[in-house]
Amino acid sequence: MTTLPIECQKTAKIRFTLNGEETDVSFVPYKTLLEVLREDLGHTGTKHGCELGECGACAVLLDGKPVLSCLVLGLECGGKQVLTVEGMGEDGKLHPLQDAFADLGAAQCGYCTPAILVTAKALLDQNPHPTRDQIRESISGNLCRCTGYLQIFEAVEAAMLKIADQKSSTT
């Protein structure tokens, strides 16, 4: 393995939109988006369970689509929109998914929770009335060792109803 001495490593810099806010960040170029978020931007809400794309714990939204941040290079994120769990709330309130997860036991140890929340958000943004099967499929890339998933499905369904409710009361 060849090693470049630290002094020779360049620093990468990107500008991107993180949770709705324009953000500049510098980092060592070999870092993944996961590492940049956690280590250079202090956004530790996004977790890691394997760093190889095998557990889903690092999921974030990249231009609205759920991706695994452990397999996205920081360098590739310039100009992109990234949403993490920290950015799910609006106007100082929790997202209906967050409320539902909290109320219905969908988070036990809470470690897989941020990834599942953003993935579920992407689902509901794109399909406001998913079936149980579609919910199940949308988080089939997120492993959970605590819940057995059922309370998670129910929380997504509850959030779905709440969002529909909110929409109809504002129209």
């Binding site: 393995m1 060849t2 090693t3 470049l4 490593q9 170029p29 070999y30 870092k31 993944t32 590492e35 890691h48 760093e51 190889l52 794309g53 095998e54 889903g56 999921a59 990249l62 689509k65 759920p66 991706v67 695994l68 452990c70 397999l71 996205v72 290079l73 360098l75 590739e76 993935t119 099967d133 199940r136 499929e137 949308s138 988080i139 089939s140 890339g141 997120n142």
Partner: protein, 342 residues
């Protein structure tokens, strides 16, 4: 945490520029598309390219062109793009099914068609961290001299694990390969090679830029994937089948491909031939399945006992052929996929 090694990063805007860089770097560089196979391999130090050439900024690689005579699919289309596109049906169903069954939803949002076609072969002894491989003194595929799957073998026996590969072969696909010096079109079947190390005849300076499909009007196709869980897992066996049937269900043309049973997807030529000119009835399906199963040579390089994988191959092929005939095999499919494919 596992960390990537150091690398240089280039982000060309055109295919010509990418080919130019690759020509200069040769074996020191690797193209990077979705990164869902390459980055884990880099973290495990299976592949440590000095330069990564990102293909994600090349417009032409994301295009889909539909014509009555066929279609051209850019190599950087994501598997999600293909899975949700309603145009990949009927004759092209196998491709949509294959794409929709790869890994997980998040990975499908990142992974590309070209990347999955060129997916590195896999093995219990190879897809491991650097430290693990050191403790077995490495293997023939990387840094070692023994193939631990078959210690007497002079050849690497890593297994082909692509899903889109078998599907596209069943659809008679061709691919375009572009380098600085030339451009060629190859039948996908001819691109794969039954060797765990030299599994794809793509030169290090070539970029797979497009998949070309002739019109499959009048065809039906299907893709079946066997794996332990409903997601994440690579195939331990797959069947891609395509056929053109007459109104009386007589087989006018057919292709069957067995995946993950060798170092490359295997065209079950005898099996397909046995179906021609016959109605696709119980007997024909049984014979074709038996012939297809004969060529499968699973080894102890992936999940599940290899004897079991061999024994279930014929049954698995019958599901695919029954589906082509028009049988309702949703229950069988869902027992493997755990959800319904719309």
């Amino acid at each position: 945490m596992m960390r990537l090694p150091l690398f240089e990063f280039r982000a060309p805007r055109t295919l010509e520029e990418a080919a130019h860089i690759l020509d200069g770097e040769r074996a020191n560089a690797m193209p990077l598309a979705g990164g869902t196979d390459l980055l884990p391999n880099m973290k495990r130090r299976q592949q440590v390219p000095r330069t990564l050439i990102s293909l994600r900024h090349i417009e032409s690689l994301n295009r889909v062109v539909w014509r009555p005579s066929g279609s051209q699919l850019g190599a950087c289309l994501t598997l999600s793009d293909i899975a949700v596109d309603p145009r990949f049906r009927n004759g092209l169903t196998a491709l949509a099914q294959a794409a929709s069954l790869v890994a997980t939803p998040q990975i499908r949002n990142m992974a590309t068609l070209g990347g999955n076609i060129c997916l590195d072969t896999r093995c219990n002894y190879y897809d491991q961290s650097y430290e693990w491989r050191k403790s077995i003194n490495f293997c023939l595929k990387k840094d070692g001299t023994t193939c631990w799957v078959a210690p007497g073998s002079a050849k690497c026996m890593a297994v082909s694990s692509t899903d889109t590969g078998p599907a596209l072969m069943a659809l008679g696909a061709r691919v375009r390969l572009v380098s600085r010096t030339d451009e060629r079109e190859v039948l996908l079947s001819d691109l794969y090679n039954n060797d765990g190390i030299d599994y794809i005849k793509r030169r290090p300076d070539e970029i797979l830029s497009e998949v070309l499909l002739d019109s499959l009007h009048g065809w039906k196709s299907t893709y079946w994937k066997l794996r332990r869980r409903g997601s994440f897992d690579f195939p331990v066996l797959s069947v891609a089948a395509a056929a053109r049937l007459s109104k009386e269900n007589v087989v006018e043309d057919a292709r069957i491909v067995i995946g993950s049973a060798a170092c490359r997807p295997l065209a079950a030529i005898e099996a397909a031939k046995s179906m021609l000119g016959r109605p696709l009835n119980q007997q024909a399906i049984k014979e074709a399945a038996a012939l297809a199963a004969r060529i499968a040579k699973p080894l102890d390089n992936t999940d599940f006992d290899m004897t079991w994988r061999k024994r279930v191959t014929a049954e698995f092929v019958t599901y695919a052929l029954r589906e082509l005939r028009g049988d309702d095999v949703r229950a069988e499919r869902e027992s493997f996929t755990r959800y319904s494919f719309e």
